[in-house]
Amino acid sequence: MLINILLVIDFIMLAVVVSAYIYASRRERKYLRSEADQSLELQQKVYQAQVLKEISERIGYSLNTGKIVDIITSSLGNLLDYDTVAYMVLQEDGKVVFKCQVENSVNHEFIEQVKEKMLMSYEAILNKKISTAGLDESVTGNILNDNSKFRVTSFFNLPVVISRKLVGLINVASHEPGRYGEEQASILYAITNQAATAVSKLQEVLESEKGKLAAVIYSLADGVITVDLNYQLTVYNPVIKNILEIAHNKPLTMFDIVDALAGKIDLRTKIEQSIAENKTLNVPDVILKDKALELTISPVKDSGGTVIAATVVFHDITTEKTLEKTRQEFTAMMVHELRAPLTAVRWSSESLIKNLAANTGVDPAKVKDTVVTIETASNNMLELVNDLLDVAKIEAGKFELNIQDYDLVELINEQAKVFRPQAEVKHLAINVITPPKYMLKFDRVRVGQVLGNLLSNAIKYTDSGQIEVNLVPNAQEKTVAIGVKDSGIGVSHEDLSSLFSKFKQLKTGDHARKGTGLGLVVSRGIVEAHGGRIWAESAGENLGTTFNFSLPII
């Protein structure tokens, strides 16, 4: 609060100076235009201009209240004669601030008189009693001399009104009677009046800037709080309640925040450390129930470099963390999937070498079995590596197609023929229901790969029944849809959409049906590169699945 008041005073003072200077130069110009000006007025204006110029030069860019008051009061000596110049402010908390600059040596009584006159005036304006309990008084300038017989015999009080609100009182006092007439009062009145207008404008700017800042903080996705040196919450945005899952509608307190983080991080110690060491602290992993947060605690400094508060930014990193975990799981799974065929190759070749070296009549059938194992394992691994490379190409957008006119039905029949032996092992029939011929522009190798993937999956996930491949042109949409329908284990509704995402298959627990699920990711890449669409339909678990993909008719 005091800081706010002081800041307002700062602005008032600066504004007094600046606006007075503007006022003076305006008056000067006016003077230059009007030769009819009275010589007395001319003298006044020249004085004013000189004083205000001096004031503005001396103040420079300082916003230090004490310094500005000093400069103004000391400079006023050139403009007005007085023994003391004083300033009185009634703060919002009811406390009275009284500052007095002594020019000519006066006694304590003189100061008391000034104070009394100002209080009376203040009370008259506000039409209420002002308590002087806890009055913040400071007297600067000349030494007080109690031998002085000076009494306040002439003075005037000038209210400083900003935005139609009384913010303070300026008093000029002298022991000389009749010191101040209309002339002197009008000088000071003109200055304060101009100052008030300028300060009002400055306040508007300040309010609007504060509003903008508040809007920025309010709309941030990150939670932000500011804590003062008394560990009180001074600023927070609404997001913080969501992030920390604080449900109540009461104003937030530091207690709520510390409570929400209890056991995860000692926020108070961190804030104290940040303030004490004057440095930004980062707490990267604060794990709440289902959230991961990253906290940044920074000291807030005033223009003089003194730490006056600390801000804490709560950055929700849950998504990043989940992604990182999925990626790690993917890598772990990939390593596992690559190690499996490698293990088979290694062990098979070892036993083959051993048997051959033993030279005890090697059984050719046994050798063939082992070599077949090696071949199968190598093919599995090659398929995996190729899928990985394809996924990388798709993700990098470097997937190139060789599009020409081909018969799609011929390709379907070709693929069905390739997969029939595998299907027959499980007593599954592959039925192709298509027109005899269907010419289309597409990449024969890549679409063949999609069909192969879908057929291989259908066989893998079906234990009994049949697999049906059909082709349905849609003249209206200018697409042709190819469906591979099985009578297998089916897919639950919630899993349907995620079947084609890179990490999905790997997360399901069923490793009976070996596979990384990359085949579907690659298939989607191929179909989408053609400008088509791929999707799955299933009535539910154990009710079979139909994988469809459409290609544009071009």
């Binding site: 596992h336 088979a344 070892e350 490793h511 009976a512």
Partner: protein, 127 residues
């Protein structure tokens, strides 16, 4: 003859493993998923179990828990053969009571046979 249960879902790996065990003079029985592994362990009461972790129906760690929970199978030494080498899994394996774990792709078949021999010898001494 010393009976060894080889629980491994990958048919290629299982094949090579069983071949090697046979050549070394053991009597291997393959199991291709976790449930089969538990059932076969109870049925044939092997002298040692080689157990994979990532298996369908029931994973290797759950198999270990079930074996350790049944007094008939609790004392059978289990060597875990896995291709998952993360610390979390390994600590779970140790906690569940496996005598040892080996990373499949890091081992030659001979290494595994040697490990089987060592564990069986140690077990004989203990009992």
């Amino acid at each position: 003859m010393t009976k060894i249960l080889a629980a491994e879902d990958d048919k290629l790996i299982s094949g090579s493993l069983c071949d090697a065990l046979k050549s070394a003079g053991y009597e291997p029985t393959p199991a291709y998923d976790g449930e089969e592994a538990v059932a076969k362990a109870k049925e044939i009461k092997p002298d040692l179990i080689l157990l994979d972790i990532m298996m369908p129906k029931l994973d290797g760690i759950s198999v270990l828990w079930e074996l350790k929970a049944d007094p008939n199978t609790a004392k059978i030494p289990v060597i875990v053969l896995t291709n998952i080498g993360d610390v979390e899994t390994i600590s779970k394996i140790v906690e569940a009571g496996a005598v040892d774990y080996l990373l499949k792709s890091d081992q030659s078949v001979d290494d595994i046979i040697q490990k089987v021999k060592d564990v069986l010898a140690r077990n004989v001494q203990l009992t």
